[in-house]
Symmetry: C2
Subunit: 204 residues, 2 copies
């Protein structure tokens, strides 16, 4: 009776466990045994459900990439106001990262350590670049913002949001060694700070 709670979803348990371990340790650093332990099942079951380590990994990687692209696309409206865009983008993106702080690092690392394979997996995801470019250019033409290359704008926003989480251990070590709790507070301040920074930088 109590067992029914988890009955039938061994597959889900495995996926959750795999996600947790892969994201923290990467493809090469992950041991199938550790996933099995985390999922409270036997190593052999992993192969029963997913055939191989790599097959299991691909599912996790694709899902992670999909989440990241989805949030970006949800914020893009061809005719949107750019100041609204900045606010919604930063808000949604930071909340995604806050809930999954290891994801960006995970993605970047797998792409650089296994370029061929990951590149192939990553090509299926797209962001709506034409709509994004259109939005920026329209706002420029309306003199709402100073001229800027759309690609720089997007990279700026992503870098400002993502970098503090990717480099968190070093930031903690450098700036907040004496009061580690302050790091959390600092990261929470980022939202207002980034919005302020980008709005001011873009003023026409």
């Amino acid at each position: 009776m109590e067992k029914t709670i988890t009955k039938g979803n061994t597959e889900v348990q495995i996926l959750n466990a795999a996600r947790k371990v892969f994201i923290k340790k990467g493809l090469d650093g992950t041991r199938m045994q550790e996933i099995a332990d985390e999922a409270h099942i036997n190593k052999a079951l992993l192969h029963y459900y997913f055939r191989s380590k790599e097959k299991l990994f691909e599912q996790i990687f694709e899902k992670a990439l999909n989440d990241v692209f989805e949030v970006i696309n949800r914020c893009i409206y061809e005719d949107g106001d750019i100041y609204t865009f900045i606010e919604t983008f930063v808000t949604h993106y930071l909340s995604l990262i806050k809930e999954n702080p290891f994801i960006p690092n995970f993605i970047f690392n797998e792409i650089t350590t296994h370029p061929e394979r990951m590149k192939q997996l990553s090509t299926q995801f797209k962001i709506n670049v034409p709509a994004f470019r259109h939005m920026i250019e329209k706002n420029i033409n309306q003199k709402k913002i100073t001229p800027i290359r759309p690609e720089h704008f997007m990279v700026d926003l992503l870098g400002l949001c993502i970098f503090p989480y990717v480099s968190r251990p070093l930031i903690e070590e450098i700036f907040f060694k004496e009061q580690p709790a302050e790091t959390e507070h600092f990261l929470n301040e980022r939202k207002q700070h980034i919005i302020f920074l980008m709005k001011k930088a873009l003023q026409a």
Copy 2:
């Protein structure tokens, strides 16, 4: 005679080879055989010179971290003008990354995949935080810039410089799929763009 060119510096050859492989593949993804091949020597020699894979790795990791911190510290002057700081910092930092584009990813990844060990190694490096804070606060008091928390300012600069290189494969895929050579041009534009962006954002 020709052999003397490399005689006596087997150790250096190994370090160069190890650096190249570790930085691209990470600690877990690196095989000692690959380092040996890259250095054109035998696998056993690696152990003769460095005892173990981990010992060899530590040397590479520490050197990488040291380079990164050194550049930052070289730009900090307690009484410096902040607009000068922005220019020299961005210039030096981008040229470091351009020459070693995989270093940031390498460092972040090792710290997250092996937190205990790497944290320990990273504590020996410091940036001159008091001088940096002093510089920012002085410039604020002189009304040269709008008030900003020094930590945010540093994280902004680093993120804007580093992120485009860390995410290069995705940027290429998303924005420049049709003309991959354009990525290089885009990255070269970053220097002027970041300087422009930060100066404008900080204006008093």
